[in-house]
């Protein structure tokens, strides 16, 4: 039996979520997986954070249409309120429409930047909860992943956004195509499987757990709010860009001091584009030192340089979905279970 349909039929007939726990070997059986997309389904594009033009979206539109999917452009595309893709009210209304429109099967955020936090509390997820759909993005969109994961337990897709699609697909590097096609795979229900090279700083182990994570700065920013990420019993991945080492250290202390590292199943360190220290302010510790210092007292697997982050090597990851992580001397494998 197809588990996805099995689950949704149970939800519609009102059978308790707890009753499922015994039947499925899922550590968090209440997680709901939106329906995967079929040809002809519509993907909506909206800008909940930074401003983007219609022209900038053309490569993404062309590519997604080539997958047999339809595109619905939101009103925020081309809108501009200084750095934002429209005013808070406009961005919230656009996102809301797409959450509520039953014809929209996935919402791809056009780009990150800054702004999701300003509208998240104005969004109403009640229709989305009746029939969940995929929410796609990363960086500032980490707000959505954490908020939805913690409050509504619906799986989301952490991946590149419209502004990362190559202008000329035929000339794009294999890596660029691969990462974009990983979004298609995630949307259409292909089981995800990723590999990373062995790394001398990795801590070995093989475990299963629900994947969660995103941008480290945003995760810190959500601490103490109702969108705060829940990490106990999960595989946490983090990435960041443009931060000083001292600031990265401080953010890992925030994870540590808010209890987000002590009960992990595993920790995945993605790409960190580090801002060089100012002269005379050399921090004297590497990213590896910073991470190891926080996790040395635990036993779970840790891996570095995983292909997720503000970089070309940024593959689609399904937040909220059970994965098996294997960190061994031969390398790293992350497998959707």
């Amino acid at each position: 039996m197809n588990r996805k349909h099995f689950l949704s039929s149970l939800f519609t007939t009102g059978i308790s979520v707890k009753a499922l726990a015994a039947t499925l070997h899922n550590p968090d059986p209440s997680i709901r997986i939106p329906q995967h997309l079929k040809p002809g389904d519509a993907v909506a594009i909206t800008a909940p954070a930074g401003h983007i033009t219609v022209e900038e979206l053309q490569p993404a539109i062309k590519q997604i249409e080539s997958w047999g999917l339809k595109i619905r452009l939101g009103d925020t595309i081309g809108k501009k309120d200084f750095s934002f893709g429209g005013t808070d009210a406009e961005r919230a209304a656009d996102f809301q429409r797409m959450l509520d429109d039953p014809a929209v099967k996935a919402i791809m955020c056009a780009r990150g930047g800054y702004g999701s936090i300003r509208i998240i509390d104005q969004l109403n997820f009640s229709k989305f909860l009746i029939k969940p759909k995929w929410i796609i993005g990363f960086s500032d969109i980490t707000v959505m992943h954490c908020h939805i994961g913690s409050n509504y337990k619906v799986a989301t897709i952490h991946s590149k956004m419209c502004n990362s699609f190559p202008e000329d697909w035929s000339k794009a590097e294999p890596l660029q195509r691969d990462t974009i096609l990983s979004i298609k795979d995630a949307l259409t229900g292909v089981k995800m499987k990723y590999n990373a090279l062995p790394h001398e700083k990795n801590r070995h182990g093989i475990i299963e757990g629900t994947l969660t994570g995103g941008n480290l700065k945003i995760i810190e920013n959500l601490a103490g709010s109702k969108s705060e990420i829940k990490t106990a019993g999960k595989i946490l991945f983090v990435e960041d860009t443009g931060e000083y080492l001292y600031s990265i250290d401080r953010m890992f202390w925030n994870l540590q001091r808010t209890g987000k590292l002590s009960q992990l199943k595993a920790l995945i360190i993605g790409g960190f584009r580090i801002k060089p220290d100012d002269p005379g302010e050399e921090f004297g510790r590497t990213l590896y030192d910073i991470v190891w210092e926080k996790v040395k007292t635990y036993n779970y697997p840790v891996c570095f340089d995983f292909p997720v982050g503000h970089q070309r090597n940024n593959y689609a990851l399904k937040c909220g979905v059970l994965h098996r992580l294997s960190v061994t001397a031969n390398g790293v494998e992350l497998l959707e279970v």
Binding site: G50, I117, R118, E220, L222, S225, N254, R257, E281
Partner: protein, 304 residues
């Protein structure tokens, strides 16, 4: 009830330590001499202009040990942090406050030292001093009214500060416990054991060198973690050397703040002299103050 450490008498000893970033000895010299002129003895720890070659003034262990010794040493009446930078958060959970709790003393500093203020406020209810640190004494800084406000406060004089009104101020009066510090650090401690409760209090915030969007995001964190809705009053200090992105944010820092708190009714004042600029009055975290924001002026006065 908040505990106020004993004020200083002539002949009392002030310990200087650097619990965070490195500071060269010559940058502390003027401060040492000024404190001596004020009538105090000064003990500078090994972390002050020490042999450290790293970002920090010493290893975590060295910084912690020195701060711990000064907290425990009954002959030290106050601890002045030489500078901020980064590093307090790395050691705060390892500090043992047992003796300090029995014999409170003034802890002085700001910026990265905000973590110590919030941590002590939340756990021990002992007043601390958000005030200029060693570098503020340099270039004749010790003569200005801001460094002098530290002198007055340490000696036990009740302080009353006034500043000009800004257009975006929200008028009104408030009385309450004063709490606050650096915005980045207040955001950073959210959810940790050093977090603060702000209900019924007067909150002050200041920041340096941040992007406007980042300040906006941190203000949203304060708001969404429930720190802005039940304030008695809000004091906005210096937001100095703020940066903007290539696509401009489109609002000044005061407009950003006014927008975040527009749905509340408490008094708000902008541009209060506390922060990383020269204008940085000594404020007693944990003490009760009265704030009066009028059309022309802002007054902040300690009530006791």
């Amino acid at each position: 009830m908040i505990k106020i450490p004993p004020y200083l008498k002539k002949g009392d000893t002030i310990g200087i330590t650097c619990p965070a970033g490195y500071m060269a000895a010559e940058k502390v010299q003027t401060c040492v001499e000024a404190l001596q002129q004020w009538g105090y003895k000064v003990i500078a720890g090994n972390t002050v202009g020490g042999k450290s070659t790293t970002y920090f003034s010493g290893t975590d262990g060295e910084r912690l040990t020195e701060l711990q010794q000064m907290l425990d040493n009954e002959n030290i009446a106050a601890i002045l942090c030489g500078r901020g930078g980064y590093g307090m958060g790395r050691i705060v959970e390892q500090i043992d406050f047992k003796k300090f709790k029995r014999h409170p003393k003034w802890i002085i500093g700001f910026s990265d030292i905000t973590i110590l203020h919030t941590h002590i406020h939340t756990h021990y209810g002992i007043s601390t001093l958000h005030a200029p640190m060693a570098a503020a004494f340099n270039e004749e800084g010790y003569k200005n009214e801001y460094v002098q406000s530290l002198k007055k406060t340490l000696a036990g004089k009740r302080t009353k500060y006034t500043c000009n009104a800004y257009e975006l101020n929200r008028k009104g009066k408030a009385s309450g416990t004063l709490i606050g510090g650096n915005l980045s650090l207040l955001a950073h401690v959210t959810g940790t054991s050093s977090d603060i409760k702000t209900k019924g209090k007067i909150l002050f915030i200041e920041e340096v060198g941040e992007y406007l969007y980042s300040a906006d995001r941190m203000l949203y964190q304060l708001k969404r973690s429930g720190k802005l809705d039940k304030l008695a009053g809000l004091i906005i200090g210096g937001f100095t050397e703020m940066k903007d992105t290539k696509r401009p944010f489109g609002k000044t820092i005061y407009e950003i703040i006014a927008d975040v708190v527009k749905t509340y009714n408490y008094p708000v004042c902008m541009g209060f002299p506390v922060g990383h600029g020269k204008e940085n009055y000594a404020l007693k975290v944990g003490a009760v103050y009265h704030l009066n924001v009028t059309p022309k002026k802002v007054m902040l006065e300690e009530t006791r």
